[in-house]
C-alpha cells in the first residue's frame, strides 16, 4: 500500500483573552509608577524592604508595612546585553537588561539601562530612572523609559 505524503503542518490558531488581576500588593507599586514614584514596603518581621512589594512578605507571610517612596536611584546588581533581534522585540539590539538594586530596597528590579554604551556597563554602576512624559505615564513599569548612569563609569566592563 502506498501511503500518502505525510501532512507536516496544519494551522490551528488559538485565540484566548484574559483579565489580568494585579493584586492589592502589586497595585500599590503600579499606582506609584503612574505618579513617577517607586514605592517600597518593609516586612515587619525580617525587616527586608520589597520594591515592588507584595501584600505580604513571601518569607515571613506578614503584611508588609505602609508604602514609602524610594529615591529611584540604585545600582546595577548584574546585567546582560541582548545582542540579537527576535520577533516582537521592542528595542533595537544591542541593549542592556539589568537587575537594579534600588537604594533602600532588598529586592531587585529588572529594567533597561541606556544612555551608556553597553560595553561600558558594569556591576555596581549607579543608575537613576528616566521617566516618560506625563501623557505616557501608566500603571506599568513602562512608566520608566529606562535607567541611566548617574555619573560616567570608570574603566571598562569587568565581567
Amino acid at each position: 500500500m502506498t501511503l500518502p505524503e505525510p501532512v507536516e503542518t496544519m494551522a490551528s490558531p488559538l485565540r484566548m483573552e484574559y483579565t489580568f488581576v494585579a493584586g492589592t500588593g502589586r497595585s500599590v507599586f503600579l499606582r506609584g509608577l503612574a505618579r513617577r514614584q517607586l514605592l517600597a514596603r518593609r516586612c515587619p518581621g525580617c525587616r527586608m524592604v520589597y520594591a515592588p512589594a507584595p501584600a505580604f512578605c513571601s518569607g515571613c507571610l506578614l503584611p508588609t508595612g505602609p508604602p514609602f517612596a524610594l529615591s529611584g536611584r540604585g545600582e546595577v546588581a548584574t546585567f546582560c546585553v541582548v545582542n540579537f533581534p527576535f520577533p516582537g522585540q521592542v528595542h533595537q539590539p544591542p541593549y542592556v537588561v539589568a537587575h537594579i538594586r534600588l537604594d533602600g530596597a532588598d529586592t531587585r528590579l529588572q529594567h533597561l539601562v541606556r544612555e551608556i554604551a553597553p560595553e561600558l556597563v558594569r556591576i555596581g554602576l549607579p543608575v537613576e530612572p528616566v521617566w516618560v512624559d506625563d501623557a505616557e505615564l501608566d500603571t506599568s513599569t513602562t512608566s520608566i523609559r529606562w535607567f541611566r548612569p548617574i555619573r560616567e563609569p570608570i574603566g571598562p566592563a569587568d565581567a
Binding site: 496544519m10 490551528s12 483573552e17 484574559y18 483579565t19 488581576v21 493584586g23 492589592t24 505580604f56 507571610l61
Partner: protein
C-alpha cells in the same frame, strides 16, 4: 504503610470574579485558617502540593505566584499538578504513607473568571489534530453526554432540574456557595445551551481557594478534632475519543471505586454522604448509578452546581466530604473529582471516622 487523615479543610467563598486579589492574596487567608483550625504552623508542614492550570490564568508558570503565600523560604518540599488539586491530594496522600514526613498542605487557587470566554479555552483539551480544530463550544460534549443519557432513559430534563433544585436548596446553607436558594420552577422554560442542557444545568464558574491539611499516623491524632481517615483513593483514565466511549456510563468511575473499596474495606454503597464533581446536572444520575449510591446523601454542600472554581472544584469535594466526618455528621464519606470532557478522568476517595 501509615494511615493518613484529613485534619483540616478551609475554603474561601466562591465568587463570580475576584478582581482585587492575586493568587497568593486569595490563598493566604485560607491557608492560615486551615492551619489554625488544626493547630499547626507552616514550619511543621513537610510537603506542599497544589493543582492549577495555566489555561485558566492565561500565563505560563502561573502556579509560581501562589507559592508566595506558602512561605517557600527557607526552601520546602513541594510539587504541583497541572490538574485539579484533587490529584495533588492523591500525590500528598501517596507520599505521606511511606515517608518520614508527617503533614502536608494541599491547596488550589481556582480561578475560572480570568478567561474572557471559556469557549476559546476548553476545546484545547481535545486531540489537537482531529478534535480541537472543530472548536466545539465548552458545553458541547457534555450536551452529547446528557442527550445520550436522556435517549437511554437514564435521566430526563425533569430529573436534571430536580438535581439542580436540590443542590441549590442545600447550597443556601453553604456560605461558600456561589449560588443557592429556592428555584422559581420556570428554569425549564429557559433556552438550551447544549440540548438538553440549559443554563441552570451547568456549574457556574467562579473564583475560590481551598486548602486541605493531611497528617499521618500519630500526627493526625490531635486533640483538636476528629480526623477524616483516607481509607482508599484511586483514579482512572478513559480513552480520549468521545465516539469510542459509551457516554451514558463511566467505566473509570467503576474501576476507581472498586480499587478504592479494596483499600478501604468498604465500598461506595456503604457511605453516608458523597460529594460528587458534577459540572452538569445529568452527571449526578450517571455517577450515582456508577457508584451505587441509591441511599446516600449527595452533595450536601450544594456541589459544583452551586459554584465551580476550576481546578479547586475536585479538591473541595474531598474537603466537603471530610468535613462531614470531622464534624461527626457522617461515619463514612466518598468524594469524587473529574477532569476532561464528559468525565474522561475520575478520582474516588473513601474516608471514614476510624482508621483501617
Amino acid at each position: 504503610m501509615r494511615e493518613v487523615a484529613v485534619v483540616s479543610f478551609a475554603q474561601s467563598p466562591c465568587v463570580p470574579a475576584d478582581r482585587e486579589h492575586d493568587m497568593a492574596e486569595i490563598l493566604l487567608p485560607v491557608l492560615r485558617r486551615a492551619l489554625d483550625s488544626c493547630g499547626l504552623t507552616r514550619d511543621e508542614i513537610g510537603f506542599v502540593a497544589s493543582g492549577s492550570h495555566d489555561f485558566y490564568e492565561g500565563r505560563t508558570f502561573s502556579s509560581i505566584e501562589s507559592l508566595d503565600a506558602v512561605g517557600a523560604w527557607p526552601p520546602i518540599r513541594q510539587s504541583h499538578v497541572e490538574m485539579d488539586a484533587a490529584w495533588a491530594f492523591a500525590e500528598a496522600w501517596t507520599w505521606l504513607q511511606t515517608s518520614k514526613i508527617k503533614t502536608s498542605v494541599v491547596y488550589a487557587v481556582g480561578r475560572s473568571s480570568l478567561v474572557s470566554d471559556l469557549d476559546q479555552v476548553l476545546p484545547a483539551q481535545l486531540d489537537p489534530y482531529l478534535l480541537a480544530p472543530l472548536r466545539p463550544h465548552r458545553h458541547a460534549l457534555a450536551g452529547l453526554q446528557a442527550a445520550a443519557m436522556v435517549d437511554a432513559g437514564l435521566t430526563s430534563e425533569r430529573q436534571m432540574a430536580e438535581v439542580v433544585s436540590r443542590c441549590l436548596a442545600t447550597a443556601a446553607a453553604n456560605p461558600n456557595a456561589l449560588r443557592g436558594g429556592v428555584r422559581t420552577g420556570k428554569e425549564n422554560d429557559a433556552p438550551f445551551v447544549a440540548s438538553p442542557l440549559r443554563a441552570h444545568d451547568v456549574a457556574p464558574p467562579g473564583d475560590a481557594a481551598a486548602v486541605i491539611v493531611l497528617a499521618a499516623g500519630d500526627a493526625a491524632r490531635r486533640p483538636t478534632g476528629r480526623p477524616a481517615w483516607v481509607r482508599g483513593l484511586d483514579h482512572r483514565m478513559e480513552t480520549h475519543y468521545p465516539g469510542a466511549r459509551d457516554l451514558t456510563r463511566s467505566i473509570s468511575v467503576g474501576l476507581a471505586a472498586a480499587r478504592a473499596a479494596e483499600q478501604a474495606g468498604f465500598g461506595a454503597a456503604d457511605v453516608d454522604v458523597a460529594e460528587l464533581h458534577t459540572e452538569y446536572s445529568h452527571q449526578e444520575p450517571l455517577l450515582v448509578a456508577a457508584l451505587g449510591l441509591e441511599k446516600t446523601v449527595i452533595n450536601p454542600s450544594g456541589g459544583p452546581l452551586a459554584g465551580h472554581p476550576a481546578t479547586a472544584t475536585g479538591l473541595i469535594r474531598i474537603g466537603e466530604a471530610a468535613r462531614q466526618i470531622m464534624d461527626g455528621t457522617a461515619e463514612r464519606a466518598l468524594a469524587h473529582a473529574t477532569n476532561g470532557p464528559a468525565l474522561q478522568h475520575n478520582l474516588i476517595c473513601l474516608m471514614a471516622g476510624e482508621p483501617r
